[in-house]
């Protein structure tokens, strides 16, 4: 028997998905479906937009208004959909390369405008679709097919980047922490304004194999052991935080005017 969320929100004719065994993307996709279900959104009024890459295939499997665009441009297309019809709940699914390399400019400007779009970045620390090249989130020193001698780039912290650029909601979770991820996505969608969810996911095929991270299960265990909630971290002594990554809610700012509402207010003002 299928998970009832699959029957309700997935396009069964398009499954199975194209993702590799052990890939964490499906966990995020299901968390999104559950969050939408909890919020009781009308499927006809949800629009899911993506760019190019492994994660960007997700909209094809989801039974909403779905738009699979060009590499890096999902947020720009989504801005058009949202501004033209603010009634729609617009959700962008992107990857670390799609959102923060080729689409980095659109990310910071969508955040700056505080337009009511929820962006979920499936961060697997690598370009998976093209076979394992280093991305803007590949840790320094790690290997990629284009970093055969070790990556000398410094990585982005996507959740912090979005918050600094003006996103009024920014949070991070991982595919090991499914319940928290689901709760964060739910809050992000319900948030008025631009919201960022950085979802740390696993790519055993390229990132894991190249960097000797073990099996898919080993990679999930790494997420379990390495991520601590920002609220818990506040109370921990420095030595317990060494080598750990933060997850949880980094920013939740209420009361900042949302972009399409500001535009509609201008239209109303001009009528007088």
């Amino acid at each position: 028997m299928n998970n009832p969320m699959v029957d309700k929100y997935f396009r069964m004719d398009n499954l199975p998905h194209i993702w590799c065994p052990g890939c964490g993307n499906g966990i995020i996709m299901l968390a999104l479906a559950k969050a939408i279900d909890k919020l009781g959104l009308d499927k006809d009024k949800v629009c899911v937009v993506s760019g190019i890459g492994c994660s960007s295939r997700a909209p094809g499997y989801l039974d909403f208004n779905t738009l699979h665009t060009t590499h890096g441009r999902a947020l720009a297309f989504a801005t058009g959909v949202k501004l033209a019809n603010p009634e729609l709940e617009v959700i962008v699914i992107s990857g670390d390369g799609d959102a923060s390399a080729i689409g980095g400019n659109h990310l910071i400007h969508a955040a700056r405008r505080n337009i009511g779009i929820t962006t979920i970045v499936f961060n697997n620390n690598i370009y998976g679709m093209t076979g394992g090249q280093y991305s803007p989130t590949t840790p320094s020193g790690d290997l990629g097919t284009t970093a055969p001698h070790g990556n000398i780039d410094r990585p982005f912290d996507i959740a912090m980047l979005a918050a600094a650029a003006g996103a009024t909601y920014s949070a991070r979770s991982t595919v090991f922490h499914g319940k928290q991820l689901e709760a964060i996505i739910e809050k992000a969608i319900a948030h008025k304004g631009f919201s960022m969810v950085e979802a740390i996911t696993t790519c055993p095929t390229y990132y894991g194999r190249k960097n000797k991270k073990g099996s898919a299960a080993d990679m999930l265990k790494f997420l379990k052991d390495s991520f601590i909630d920002v609220k818990v971290a506040e109370k921990l002594p420095e030595e317990k935080k060494a080598g750990k990554f933060l997850m949880g809610e980094f920013k939740n700012e209420e009361g900042v005017v949302e972009y399409t509402e500001a535009y509609d207010a201008m239209i109303e003002r001009l009528k007088k």
Partner: protein
């Protein structure tokens, strides 16, 4: 009723035409010499309940305009040379995903940053081949302020009717010069509205209804929950790797244009009836060509002009006829030779085809064209 007569520049007439056609969404990025189109759209759209947004770059400009169109609004973006280069990938996206969109390119001197304030007609071939892969293309080019108005309306009509991006190739001269124009009264020009799904029928986003050659388009949010992608897809809209399907789909996209050439192709023939030499031109160069024809006729040389209004698809049948009739055809354009190759291809050696043009930022003067005519005759 009194006539609505205004003095305005080509770029303003473009916005007036767009609003006449029902534009409700504009997204773009400022660039000389097209900026007035963004400025006027920013001013006027919120007054009619429409939306304007200045994006962070040229690529975002067209991507956002496509998003607006998918949400059901008549949508436009405008740019110039460097921006037109940056927009090419998403022009191809709108072609394969069949999204109606108007793309204005106020041509300036290139390549690269080139001559930002000088006129050129350097993107004639880029309009056809600038985005990768084979694809259907519609491009129009006006030679006056009033025609900029009319062709912007027509660009929207063709975009909505054939579900494809339509490019309007104006240039710095037509965009910035001011002329007195009569604004058409509402209803005077045809305005075509996108055909949506039919009530009571199953909706197929990329399938054809009996007797129709363009798929019906539903707006996001109307309840049809379909998928749009830049991958080759089948009638359902979902990606397909089948080469057989790709062939069928590409044929359908090409045929929606190829089978409707009479509806899409427009041209003007000026003093061509008794002419002994034919000059082919378009856009601002056609104005210089008219001047050259007057000069030549004053000297007893019977010159005439074929002016392409629809640049793509090319008026192949008519130009081939002109090739049969004339010994000499000149192509006058503000570049070092672009449309001339298309003319030459179609004329197939039946007439001698000569190019007259320049790409240094100066306008093509009537005297230059007239001198070239005398040289070849």
């Amino acid at each position: 009723m009194s006539k609505n007569i205004k003095l305005m520049q080509g770029n303003e007439a473009c916005v007036e035409g767009a609003l006449y056609a029902g534009m409700k969404f504009y997204a773009g990025y400022p660039i000389t010499p097209s900026t007035e189109i963004a400025e006027k759209s920013a001013e006027k759209l919120p007054l009619v309940g429409g939306k304007f947004i200045q994006m962070e770059d040229e690529i975002a400009g067209i991507a956002t305009a496509i998003g607006g169109s998918l949400a059901g609004k008549k949508s436009m973006t405008a740019t110039s040379g460097p921006g037109f280069s940056l927009k090419q990938e998403n022009i191809g996206y709108a072609m394969i995903a069949e999204i109606p969109l108007v793309v204005i390119n106020v041509q300036r001197g290139g390549p690269s940053t080139g001559l930002p304030t000088a006129p050129a007609q350097g993107e004639i071939m880029q309009a056809k081949w600038g985005t990768h892969g084979d694809h259907p293309v519609i491009a129009l080019s006006p030679d006056s302020v009033r025609e900029t108005f009319d062709l912007t309306v027509r660009a929207f009509n063709l975009a909505e009717k054939y579900r494809t991006p339509v490019m309007l190739l104006t240039d710095e001269i037509v965009g910035h010069m001011r002329e007195k124009i009569e604004i058409p009264a509402p209803g005077e020009l045809e305005v075509f509205d996108r055909l949506g799904p039919v009530d009571g029928e199953d909706y197929s986003p990329y399938g054809l209804r009996q007797g129709e050659c363009v798929p019906r388009m539903a707006a996001f949010g109307e309840g049809h929950r379909y998928h749009v992608t830049g991958l080759f897809h089948d009638e359902t809209g979902f990606p397909s790797n089948s080469t057989e399907n790709a062939g069928i789909m590409l044929d359908r996209m090409m045929n929606k244009i190829e089978n409707n050439l009479d509806d899409i192709i427009q041209y003007e023939e000026y003093m061509l009836e008794d002419a002994e030499v034919c000059i082919i031109s378009y856009g601002s160069s056609a104005r210089a060509t008219k001047g050259a024809i007057d000069m030549l006729r004053a000297e007893g040389i019977k010159a005439g002009m074929f002016r392409a209004i629809t640049i793509w698809p090319f008026a192949e049948k008519r130009v081939a006829e002109l090739g049969e009739r004339f010994d000499n055809i000149l192509v006058a354009e503000l570049n070092l030779g672009q449309y001339v190759y298309e003319v030459d291809r179609v004329v197939k050696g039946k007439a001698k085809v000569t190019h007259v043009g320049r790409a240094d930022g100066e306008v093509l003067a009537p005297v230059e064209i007239a001198a070239k005519v005398k040289e070849v005759m």
